[in-house]
């Protein structure tokens, strides 16, 4: 497997990465919240 030029572009495209930053933070908080955390 190699990263394609398109994948590398998106990995460094700041506006898209800002979106991913928000999405990933929400995802982690939701997943951690849904896990047992008893």
């Amino acid at each position: 497997m190699e990263f394609s030029p398109a994948e590398k572009f998106w990995m460094n495209f700041k506006l898209y990465q800002l979106w991913r930053f928000i999405v990933l933070n929400i995802k982690i908080l939701v997943v951690v919240g849904k896990s047992k955390r008893s």
Binding site: M1, E2, F3, K8, W10, M11, N12, K14, Q17, L18, R20, F21, L24, N25, K27, I28, L29, V31, V32, G33, K34, S35, K36, R37, S38
Partner: protein
């Protein structure tokens, strides 16, 4: 008034101390005994090791935090544990004076972090060997100095060989070594020296991207992606060579000796090497009322504390038995003794173990650091508080239930840095709950690389130090 003693002030012990202090610290006596008077934020030592972060940015003094949290702090090395009823105490040696310190307890939490077993591999380690480590702050500083000296040699035109990975067939914490190797790559690129270095990943993992947790698997657009393909792409992109299924057996100056799955023996030359050692339990003496050694009641042969797991299952059975993993981290013989973080004895490996024809077991141990340590520290602390206030435990969390998020830094720059964001659910596969060959929730598990990961890593450094300082809202930040 109940007395609770916590041994250790790392991710597990410190988390436990904060929860205990906030829950019962006013009415009961909570004491932390640690041979270090500072908390060290271990995940950022990877940046210390390449000279990108000052060591003092990764530590803070424990006592002022504990003073606010109604926790007593004793700066001493625990050396003996006396767990028999009627005479339960921890004996320590005060740092500086060398005086004995006796701490009586009703409940004990053992969370001292690992013994870095450099002696398990002849020639390994920064003190009596030829390799480096980022497993403690003094080691990370020494590694940084050696790495920067290597860069100076490269600036003079010298070609060098760098080897990073694991230094024992049973080592764990491959994630930290992975972060270090990609940070070294990024740093060399920035310094314009990358063409002067041949970089090799040398690891005991069964496959690339295994990380001691049987890899990470996700589903994207209906297709299952695995971490071995992902990490292979990272290494190919960075020009990093790799050699897995390899157990390091000995190190000499400039030469690493190893064996692989096929039983072949070989050597690899190096100019600079950072290899993670095997982790063992701290060598406390466990002493009975009659003065006898009762370690076998409390620990396994590696010194890890036995808890409520099901031990001794062969790997194929263990892999199908999620309930074999402990839920409350309570010693079955001494019910008032708990273990958290690296200190508890796992029931077996998560990754498939392998023994080669020379009878050398090449098998990564299960990682119990970072988020896992923090979660267990919280569970144990809340249960101890429960026992004191209600008389029964109400909390439990197996590693087969646990979510872990890991941000593997690949350069710290907020502009052109990078990181792999890994979410594993659960940490230990549960093949009963998740109906796929991996035993994981492929929807919530996540694997992604980008600049946003570098931002997350930066954010985590600051939010976690905020949390560990118990500043306002600290309980809202997940472990």
């Amino acid at each position: 008034m109940a007395k609770v003693v916590v041994i250790g002030a790392g991710f597990a012990g410190h988390t436990a101390a904060l929860y205990l202090g906030s829950r019962i610290g006013r009415m009961h006596e909570v004491t932390v005994i640690s041979n270090r008077d500072v908390f060290g934020y271990v995940p950022s030592w990877v940046w210390v090791g390449v000279g990108h972060m000052k060591p003092e940015q990764t530590i803070f003094k424990l006592k002022p935090v504990y003073d606010r949290m109604n926790v007593k702090f004793v700066h001493a090395s625990a050396k003996e544990i006396h767990p028999d009823v009627g005479d339960q105490y921890v004996l320590g040696e005060e740092v500086g004076s060398g005086k004995d310190v006796r701490l009586d307890y009703d409940y004990l939490i053992v969370a001292p972090g690992p013994l870095l077993n450099f002696a398990g591999t002849p020639g390994l380690g920064p003190e009596n060997g030829f390799t480096h480590s980022i497993c403690s702050l003094p080691h990370a500083i020494k590694t940084r100095d050696a790495y920067l000296a290597l860069c100076d040699r490269m600036k003079k035109g010298e070609q060098v060989k760098i080897v990073i990975g694991t230094g024992h067939p049973g080592a764990t914490c491959q994630g930290a070594a992975f972060e270090y190797i990609v940070n070294v790559h990024k740093d060399l690129v920035k310094k314009g020296l990358r063409d002067k270095a041949d970089i090799l990943w040398l690891s005991n993992e069964p496959a690339l991207g295994d990380f001691g947790v049987n890899g990470v698997q996700i589903k994207r657009n209906g297709i299952v992606q695995k971490s071995d393909e992902f990490i292979k792409a990272v290494f190919n992109d960075h020009g990093i060579r790799y050699q897995v299924q390899t157990g390091v057996t000995k190190v000499e100056e400039g030469k690493i000796h190893w064996q692989n799955y096929e039983g072949d023996e070989g050597t690899t030359d190096f100019d600079f090497s950072m290899l993670i050692p095997q982790f063992k339990g701290q060598p406390f003496k466990y002493i009975g009322k009659d003065g006898s050694d009762i370690s076998a009641k409390l620990t396994n042969p590696a010194g890890f504390v036995l808890v409520d797991g099901k031990y001794g299952l062969p790997y194929p059975e263990l892999a199908q038995t999620p309930e074999a993993w402990p839920a409350q981290y309570q010693n079955p013989t001494y019910k008032n003794v708990f273990a958290a973080g690296i200190a508890f004895a796992p029931p077996g490996p998560i990754s498939k173990p392998f023994t080669n024809k020379n009878n050398l077991a090449i098998a990564p141990a299960p990682p119990r650091t970072g988020m896992v340590s923090g979660v267990i520290g919280r569970v144990v602390a809340l249960n101890v508080a429960d026992l004191i206030t209600k008389g029964e435990m109400t909390h439990s969390e197996r590693m087969t239930d646990m979510v872990a998020a890991c941000i593997a830094s690949m350069g710290d720059s907020l502009w052109d840095g990078n990181a792999v964001v890994i979410v594993m659910h659960p940490v230990v596969p549960d093949r009963k709950k998740f109906n796929n060959e991996f035993g994981r929730d492929l929807f919530t598990s996540h694997l992604e690389m980008g600049v946003s990961g570098a931002w997350m890593k930066f954010m985590l450094h600051h939010t976690f130090i905020w949390k560990f300082k118990a500043l306002p809202g600290w309980t809202l930040i997940p472990e």
